[in-house]
């Protein structure tokens, strides 16, 4: 009997999850890094579609944007021979180059339970420790903390608690500022609906961040055929040097 009730409860839970669904809009699903790129504001907005009346318990919305992950070497300076130099290091296998998380409320208390965080890897700490920080180094946690702190100061990691506006338990919107120092790639965008810390519905999409035009051409050339790139930069330098001296000779001879 209890088992039947439990199953019924689970079933209703599933029903509930499907009863509320995310309908998403975004100001842009592409960020173009042009020559004058100075960061970008992404507006994420949407509505919650439901078949039944609004439940009493308030709903929460989490919006997270994750940049492409890359290995990062974290080094710590220590004083040796009177000068400060890099000594210990920890290699983090993969850390997202950008991570922003915006929520309607304070993160662990209201929005998401820790078990759900473990399952969906939503918080910044989860996004990095998942990458597998080395276990043989003592104080490895200090290094990942430093990674988060430094990237936070650079605006690359942002936890924006309480910045998602939710109107009438139905319409939500938030703006996430992406700084100028973005790396190229696919930025995974996830939206979670939660109630009492549990995830009800999840929506995934992606934002494509890429260099365009001249920026793209130069970057690609420098990686695909570095010799051509090097020769081209020297040719430009020689041309500029010659032009400058020729130009000023004309001016001076007048």
């Amino acid at each position: 009997m209890t088992r039947f009730l439990f199953a019924l409860f689970m079933f209703s839970g599933v029903m509930l999850a499907q009863a509320e669904e995310i309908v998403l809009g975004m100001s842009q699903n592409e960020v173009a890094i042009t020559a004058t790129f100075d960061g970008s504001n992404i507006l994420v907005f949407g509505a919650i579609k439901r078949d039944s009346p609004i439940p009493k318990v308030p709903l929460h919305v989490i919006v997270s944007i994750t940049g492409p992950s890359k290995p990062v070497v974290v080094r710590r300076k220590a004083q040796q021979f009177g000068i400060w130099l890099n000594k210990d290091m920890v290699e983090v296998d993969a850390a997202p180059s950008f991570y922003a998380i915006a929520t309607t409320g304070s993160f662990f208390r209201e929005v998401l339970s820790e078990t759900e965080d473990l399952q969906h890897n939503v918080s910044i700490n989860r996004a990095i420790s998942l990458a597998g920080a080395p276990k043989n180094t003592p104080n490895a946690q200090n290094f990942t903390d430093a990674l988060i702190r430094i990237r936070r100061e650079q605006g690359l990691y942002q936890s924006l608690e309480g910045t998602v506006a939710l109107d009438q338990q139905t319409l939500f919107r938030t703006t996430i500022k992406m700084p100028a120092s973005l790396t190229e790639g696919e930025y995974k965008t996830r939206i979670f609906l939660t109630r009492e810390g549990r995830v009800l519905n999840k929506f995934e999409t992606s934002i494509d961040v890429r260099k365009v035009g001249l920026e793209r051409f130069l970057f690609k050339l420098s990686r695909d055929s570095p010799l051509t790139y090097g020769l081209l930069s020297i040719a430009i330098a020689i041309m500029a040097g010659w032009l400058a001296s020729a130009f000023f000779q004309v001016i001076r001879s007048r």
Binding site: K70, L85, S233, I236
Partner: protein, 305 residues
């Protein structure tokens, strides 16, 4: 106007870069120095990653040294044979320098190497310049000093003697080659042309006449910095063309303005000013090494294709 640098992957103010280029250009025109030793630390200060700053500065120096060397070609004040020996040494040195640079980069010590080199060399050059110009000012107040004659030294007893007609020398090819190697290493590590080391070395060690020294050193610098640029571009992917163009536009204009200004002002006092600036930059870099930094940790992301 903010501009995004595709290789450095940072966004900086274009006018700031033009201004920096112009300022260092004026100084280099006024004092006849390449300016790399001032520009590269300034690039560190505005947040360009050191590896990109060093590689890109080498590229910019190709432009300024070519522009300067053209004038010397016309005046025939270049000793091509000596330049060739210096250049061969320089190319070897640049290759060694880039190898050392990449090795230390893999150890995470490249920042330290570059900064240490700067502190040591800026300290020496700034100090010497300061003392020399102070002496010159004192001497100009009570003229009548006696000039010492150049002495014969080790340079004249080494093998592989070659006749350098333009310089009027018959000496061993080893000293200029060694000077070239040394300057090449510095060029690769510090992102400088190395004129500030090479010019005194050519005068005092090799014994070249002053009138061909600057032209010959510029001739060598073009090739060595061009080679350094290629090496950095192909092994580290750290040459930022957009940054280089902005700097060199400011630089070449500034250099011409500086040349005009330099003729109107008193040389000794100017040199004391330059010495002060060099020592200030050196002091700032030294403090960064000596004082406990606010952030002990640093990040580096693997660069690559």
């Amino acid at each position: 106007m903010q501009i995004y640098l595709p290789i450095a992957e940072v966004s900086v103010n274009a006018f700031l870069l033009l201004g920096l280029g112009g300022l260092v250009g004026i100084l280099s025109g006024m004092f006849g120095v390449g300016g790399g030793f001032l520009m590269t630390p300034l690039l560190f200060f505005i947040g360009i990653p050191p590896a990109v700053a060093v590689a890109t500065e080498a590229n910019q120096i190709v432009a300024s040294s070519f522009s300067g060397a053209l004038a010397h070609f016309k005046r025939r004040t270049v000793d091509f044979k000596m330049g060739l020996v210096l250049m061969l040494g320089g190319l070897l040195g640049a290759a060694l320098g880039v190898l050392l640079f990449n090795y230390l980069k893999s150890l995470g010590q490249v920042d330290l190497l570059v900064r240490l080199c700067y502190v040591v060399f800026l300290g020496i050059i700034g100090g010497l310049m300061f003392i020399e110009s102070l002496n010159a000012i004192l001497k100009s107040r009570n003229p009548g000093g006696v000039k010492k004659r150049r002495e014969r030294n080790l340079v004249h007893s080494l093998p592989f003697k070659v006749r350098f007609r333009t310089s009027g020398l018959y000496i061993s090819a080893i000293p200029p080659f060694v000077v070239g190697v040394f300057v090449g290493i510095l060029s690769a590590i510090m992102g400088v042309g190395g004129g500030f080391i090479m010019v005194p070395a050519m005068i005092y060690i090799i014994g070249m006449p002053t009138k061909v020294v600057v032209g010959t050193s510029l001739f060598q610098i073009i090739f060595v910095t061009a080679f350094t640029t290629i090496l950095h571009a192909t092994t580290n992917y750290t040459v930022d063309m957009v940054l280089a163009v902005l700097l060199l536009v400011g630089g070449v204009i500034g250099a011409q303005v500086g040349t005009q200004l330099g003729t109107r002002l008193k040389a000794e006092q100017l040199r004391i000013l330059l010495a002060f600036m060099v020592l200030t930059v050196c002091g700032k870099l030294a403090l960064d090494l000596l004082l406990q930094p606010a952030e002990l940790y640093s990040l580096s992301v693997a660069q690559g294709p």
